[in-house]
């Protein structure tokens, strides 16, 4: 009985560790993604990341002229035949140009993230 409980606890801890690691990896990816658009000032924070297989997120934080923190999040929902952008509480279509740029950014993101975090995936794809 005690052995069973111990085993259960070990498994739970392992699952918890994996979840935490996934969150940390995602946060790190977001930082790498933020860097592909150039540098930011100290009062700015920029993140760009792939949330899941169908969602890309671009997040910005900055201090405005009144010293107030502002933020804006843009979410791109990718479907097989269209993309919808969600921003400031509104849904919008994505123009061809914007989609092309998003694709370029996503490609660069994948290259950098693979190189810095998942080199094993690079080896597998070669």
């Amino acid at each position: 009985m005690i052995r069973k409980l111990l085993k259960q606890s070990v498994v739970q801890r392992k699952v918890q560790r994996e979840l935490e690691l996934e969150q940390k990896l995602l946060r790190h990816e977001a930082k790498i993604g933020g860097r592909i658009f150039g540098s930011t000032s100290k009062s700015e924070r920029r993140e760009f990341f792939c949330l899941d297989a169908h969602t890309w997120v671009w997040h910005e934080q900055w201090v405005d002229q009144n010293g107030q923190y502002q933020s804006r999040t843009t979410r791109y929902e990718v479907q097989p035949a269209r993309i919808i952008k969600y921003r400031d509480g509104q849904y919008d279509r994505v123009s061809d140009e914007e989609l092309r740029n998003l694709y370029d950014a996503a490609q660069l993101y994948q290259q950098n993230v693979y190189r810095e975090l998942y080199p094993f995936a690079l080896q597998a794809s070669q």
Partner: protein
């Protein structure tokens, strides 16, 4: 004296002594690869990246799939109603948006121009791979 608790956990190794890739990292790499594939397929459907839908059809898509994609493309025309995807509508109150709800692009561009340029890196950067997502709209 070093406290053992301060040491980072030792990465697991297999029988051959190679480091094991944590499942979480493997999962993220797979998710990322799928996400790029979905995005890539979307750009092909829209005829971007220098490939026409017809070219894609001869190499990758069966005729019946092509017809489906063409229909999907037609349904994404700006004049038509845009369905809110389930993943979004589950977060927000479920509704459908029409062209009236879509932000007027000229107004949007004006808004972007009036804000601190550094807030919008996607507008500002000018390298081919990093060009602004919105510079076309802003123009």
């Amino acid at each position: 004296m070093i406290n053992v608790a301060d040491l980072p956990p030792t990465p697991e190794r297999n029988e051959r002594g190679e480091f094991l890739v944590p499942p979480a990292a493997e999962k993220r790499a797979t998710v990322l690869s799928s996400a790029l594939e979905v995005l890539s397929s979307n750009t092909r459907v829209r005829g971007l990246r220098g490939e026409s839908v017809a070219q894609v059809a001869t190499t990758e898509i069966a005729p019946e799939q092509l017809e489906q994609r063409k229909q999907a493309e037609r349904s994404a025309a700006p004049e038509e109603e845009i369905a809110v995807p389930p993943s979004i509508s589950s977060v927000e109150t479920e509704h459908r948006i029409t062209t009236d709800d879509v932000v007027d692009l000229a107004e949007y561009a004006k808004r972007l121009a009036g804000q601190n340029e550094s807030i919008h890196p996607l507008v500002r950067v000018d390298q081919p791979t990093q060009r602004g997502l919105y510079d076309q709209e802003a123009a």
